[in-house]
Every structure is written in structure tokens, then in C-alpha cells.
């Protein structure tokens, strides 16, 4: 009998490793030259642990059910030729689309050169807006954000007065794209980047391309050329640049999809992030609760779900206080 003692033998052994062995047994049993000796060896292997047995049953059953693949007999053609043609045709489509896109951008540039504009765009708490500008550049506004734009034939200028925005800039060497945030200036060199303005600091994350950041009104201040993955943090008096990972950038941009992604984020930081988007605030009452860490993707507007997570999984206390919620140990 496969006794319970067997259980412990396999604890911590990856399923994939057991599966490799189970597959090899099933594959061999599926062959003609299977003898009594094999029966005995298989019985011994199966008896060694329940994990072996369930893995074997699973593979054997699935492999047996895959017999119905014979229904697909004759439906497999000569894939090499087919994919070759398809790829070539697809490339032609892409090329045609690219040409169309380029001429479209060309037209828009001409239009916008003739029509200088100065406009204000903003979002409320929890808001999210995607703007496509006359030059084809896109600006995506996160919660509680306000920007102004002014385009003329020499320059494209955007002021970010508060909040956070993602920029996808169509490069034009003759007409630089400049983002101004307080004393700081970001000059695009063909790029995608995020600017987050907070009362005491400015954070610029470069996603693609390249951009320059400086503070033109402060004599002797620092400046930096940002490369993809660079995060610049500028305060009134100092600036630092650090490298970050692709995953971290993807997390930082998750608001564009209406979600927040936490990766071992402390409850305190997660609550602060959530509070940027909602009227209903989350307060973390004590430091023990604040230090708990969470992982996961979370709708930016679902405060109740956040509370339920803290309660049911972390075992924390969640209380309503007015329209807000308070989480404590």
C-alpha cells in the first residue's frame, strides 16, 4: 500500500521532476517490449510515494485520452512552406501600414504647424485620460493630473502642473518636445517616458528612447541624459538617477490599464498608492500591520476588495470609519 510515510519523501521535490519520471514510465509501458521485470520496477516506484502515483495516473490518463488525436490524421500539411508565405505576406502588410502611418504623421505635422494651440487638460480623482495631440504624440493622464500644452512651429511645450502623465512622443528634430515641471525641464529626444510630480519631488522614468532632464532656471544645477530603464528623482536642490528593471517599469505603468500592481509592497505603501485614486481612503493604524507585504494586481478603484484581502488573508482587523476604512493588527 502506498503508505502516508511516502508523503514526506516527496515534499519539496518539484512536480516537474516527478513528472519526467512518470512520463518515462508511461512512455515505456506504451511500448511493445514491456516485461515482468518492468512491472515490478514500476510497482516499486509507484509504491514509494503518493506523489509518484498521482503523477503517473495523471499522465497515463491524459496520454490515453490523447488517442483521439487520430481524428486529426491528414490535417497536418507541409507547415514550412505555408509559414514562409504567410510571413512574407505579413511583412508586406506591415510595410504598407508603416508607409501609411508615416504619411499620416506628415499630414498632422503640417496641420499643427499652422495652428499653434494652448490648452489645459485635467483629470479628477481616480480619472484617466488619453490625449492624442496634433503631432501624433500621446499623453496619458493619471489620477488628479493637470497639464497645459502649447505648440508652435519651433517648439512643443507641455507644463505638468500636478499629477502623473505618460508621454509617447513623435520625434521632430526641428521642433523639440519639452515638458516643464516646476523648475525642471525634460527635453525629448524621441521617446516614451512617465513624469510624476509630487509636492516635494519630480520622478521621471524613461521607458524607450532618450531624454534630457535639467533645471534651466537654477544656475549650476545638475542635468542628465536618461536612457531606457533610468529613473530620475529631482527635488528642489538635488537630482539622482537610478536604473530599474523592465518589470518595475511595467508595474509603474499599470495605472494605464486601471490596475495597481504590487510586488512585495508594504501594506502602508500599497494603501498610499490606492489613496491616490479614491475618495474612500485606507488608513493603516499601526506599524505591525503597515509592514505586512502584498503581491498582486488590484483594480485601482476597489477599496473594499483591499479591505477584504487584509481581513481574510492577513487576518488583520478592518473597521469602517465614516467613508474610510482603518486596518489594524
Amino acid at each position: 500500500m502506498s503508505g502516508p510515510q511516502s508523503d514526506k519523501d516527496c515534499q519539496g521535490i518539484p512536480a516537474s521532476q516527478i513528472e519526467v519520471e512518470a512520463i518515462s514510465w508511461v512512455e515505456r509501458a506504451d511500448r511493445e517490449d514491456w516485461g515482468a521485470q518492468d512491472d515490478a520496477s514500476l510497482a516499486e516506484w509507484l509504491g514509494r510515494s503518493t506523489a509518484h502515483r498521482i503523477s503517473y495516473l495523471r499522465i497515463r490518463d491524459g496520454w490515453k485520452r490523447a488517442d483521439r488525436l487520430v481524428a486529426l490524421r491528414g490535417t497536418f500539411g507541409t507547415p514550412k512552406e505555408n509559414t514562409g508565405t504567410r510571413t512574407r505576406r505579413m511583412r508586406l502588410h506591415i510595410a504598407a501600414a508603416a508607409i501609411a502611418a508615416v504619411s499620416l504623421v506628415g499630414i498632422w505635422s503640417v496641420v499643427s504647424t499652422n495652428q499653434p494651440q494652448a490648452s489645459v487638460y485635467s483629470t479628477d480623482l481616480g480619472g484617466h485620460k488619453v490625449l492624442t495631440l496634433a503631432d501624433g504624440s500621446q499623453i496619458e493622464l493619471n489620477t488628479e493630473t493637470e497639464i497645459r500644452t502649447k505648440f508652435d512651429e519651433h517648439k512643443r511645450t507641455v507644463w505638468i502642473d500636478r499629477g502623473e502623465a505618460f508621454f509617447k512622443v513623435v520625434h521632430d528634430a526641428g521642433r523639440p518636445f519639452v515638458v516643464l515641471a516646476g523648475n525642471h525641464r525634460i527635453t525629448d529626444i524621441g521617446t516614451k517616458f512617465v513624469v510624476r510630480r509630487e509636492p516635494d519631488q519630480l520622478q521621471v522614468t524613461l521607458v524607450e528612447g532618450s531624454a534630457e532632464i535639467d533645471s534651466p532656471n537654477q544656475p549650476g544645477s545638475q542635468h542628465a541624459i536618461l536612457q531606457p530603464g533610468d529613473v530620475a528623482i529631482a527635488t528642489a536642490t538635488a537630482m539622482s538617477v537610478v536604473k530599474t528593471t523592465q518589470e518595475s517599469i511595467a508595474r509603474e505603468l499599470s495605472w494605464r490599464k486601471g490596475v495597481l500592481v504590487f510586488d512585495r509592497t508594504t501594506l502602508a505603501d500599497a494603501a498610499a498608492e490606492l489613496n491616490r485614486y479614491n475618495e474612500r481612503k485606507v488608513f493603516v493604524a499601526d506599524s505591525d500591520a503597515a509592514q505586512q507585504r502584498i503581491v498582486g494586481t488590484f483594480p485601482a478603484n476597489n477599496v473594499d476588495l483591499f479591505g477584504r484581502v487584509a481581513q481574510s488573508v492577513l487576518g488583520l482587523h478592518v473597521k469602517e470609519r465614516g467613508k474610510n476604512i482603518v486596518i489594524s493588527q
Binding site: P14, A15, A29, D39, R58, I59, D67, I294, T297
Partner: protein, 198 residues
């Protein structure tokens, strides 16, 4: 040797006659009632854990617990039992790791609603099964797919495949092993095997 204990319903069954099974009734129950839940189970585990190899490890833990419980008494119906064990193991793991996953909680809520509903319609399941198999085969690397087709559709032996493809028998075995792993997950409706993971 518990030979012929599974009634030899099809030709495929008879190939496995002679394989010793200590507890045929639990084995049968496991294959009949638990494995068909794998699609649902993996959907749940993949969403909670995000890392596919973690999900496969946890599936193993779930199956071991379910099987060992069934050796004492076979739970009926199987579905809420299996999903409760899955849920508890996920919670254990989360507590142990000192992190919580928001998806898991959202899923738990959904799970408690779902668990009373009947299982998926068998006919619809059978129809989509062939589609899943086809997609899984199409996604295999060329050589692996070729080996799988020769084995499962053309019915060739390992040696015949080796000759046909001009490779060693050991390499054929490798191709088949890798292909089998994918095919079994696909036929069981594991969303990650079907390329469906959001």
C-alpha cells in the same frame, strides 16, 4: 498484479493491463472524478500564483492530499472537496510566504459561489478538448510535433520514428517526453498549456 481491473473498455486500456495498482478503486475514482477538474484547478492556481511551475507544484500537493484523503473515504461530490483543499493550500502558502495575493482573495470569493454549480457540460468539454489538443500540437517545436504525430496519429514505435526522422531513439524519447507533458496539460484544460493565460 491487478490485471484487467479496469474492464478493458478500449484498445488503449489493454496496453496498461498488467500494471500493478494497489488501490484500484481510488485510482479509478481519481482518474474519473478528480482529473477532469484540472482545468478549473489550474485556472485557479495560475491566477493565484502567477508562476506556472509553482502552480504545477501546488497541483501535485493538491492531488496528493486528495488522493490520501480518498484512501480513507472517497469524498462525494469531488469538486467542492478538491477546490477546498486547493484553497487551503494556497492560503497556507501565502501565510507562510508572508505575502498576500489579491487575485487569490478575489478568486476565493468567486469560488464559493461557483462550487455548488454542476461541472462543465461533458459534450462541450469533449468538443473543445480536440481543439485544445490541436492548438497544443501546433505550438510544439517542429521536431517535437513531428515525433508526436508519428507516435500518436501514425502509431509508429519509437524505433520506427527514429528511422523516419533520422535521429537516435534517445532523442525520440526526449521529444515524446516533452510533447507528452504539454499534451496532457492541454487535454486537461490547463489554461497555461493552451496559451490562454491572459
Amino acid at each position: 498484479m491487478a490485471d484487467g481491473s479496469d474492464n478493458g473498455q478500449s484498445k488503449a486500456d489493454t496496453r496498461f493491463v498488467g500494471v500493478p495498482m494497489n488501490t484500484p478503486s481510488v485510482d479509478d475514482w481519481f482518474v474519473r472524478e478528480v482529473i477532469p477538474l484540472e482545468g478549473l484547478l489550474m485556472q485557479f492556481l495560475n491566477r493565484c500564483l502567477r508562476n506556472p511551475s509553482d502552480a504545477a507544484d501546488l497541483r501535485q500537493d493538491v492531488y496528493v492530499k486528495v488522493y490520501e484523503a480518498a484512501q480513507k473515504r472517497i469524498p462525494d461530490p469531488a469538486r467542492p472537496f478538491v477546490m477546498t483543499i486547493a484553497r487551503n493550500l494556497v492560503v497556507d502558502r501565502i501565510r507562510h510566504a508572508q505575502v498576500i495575493s489579491i487575485e487569490s482573495v478575489a478568486d476565493f470569493e468567486q469560488l464559493s459561489i461557483e462550487s455548488d454549480e454542476p461541472g462543465p457540460d461533458r459534450t462541450a468539454a469533449a468538443r473543445s478538448e480536440l481543439g485544445r489538443l490541436r492548438r497544443a500540437l501546433d505550438r510544439l517545436p517542429e521536431r517535437r510535433r513531428q515525433a508526436m504525430i508519428l507516435r500518436k496519429i501514425e502509431g509508429l514505435s519509437r524505433r520506427e520514428i527514429a528511422i523516419r526522422m533520422g535521429i537516435s531513439e534517445a532523442t525520440v524519447a526526449e521529444h515524446l517526453a516533452a510533447g507528452m507533458s504539454v499534451i496532457v496539460s492541454a487535454i486537461n484544460g490547463d489554461p497555461s498549456a493552451d496559451g490562454d493565460v491572459s
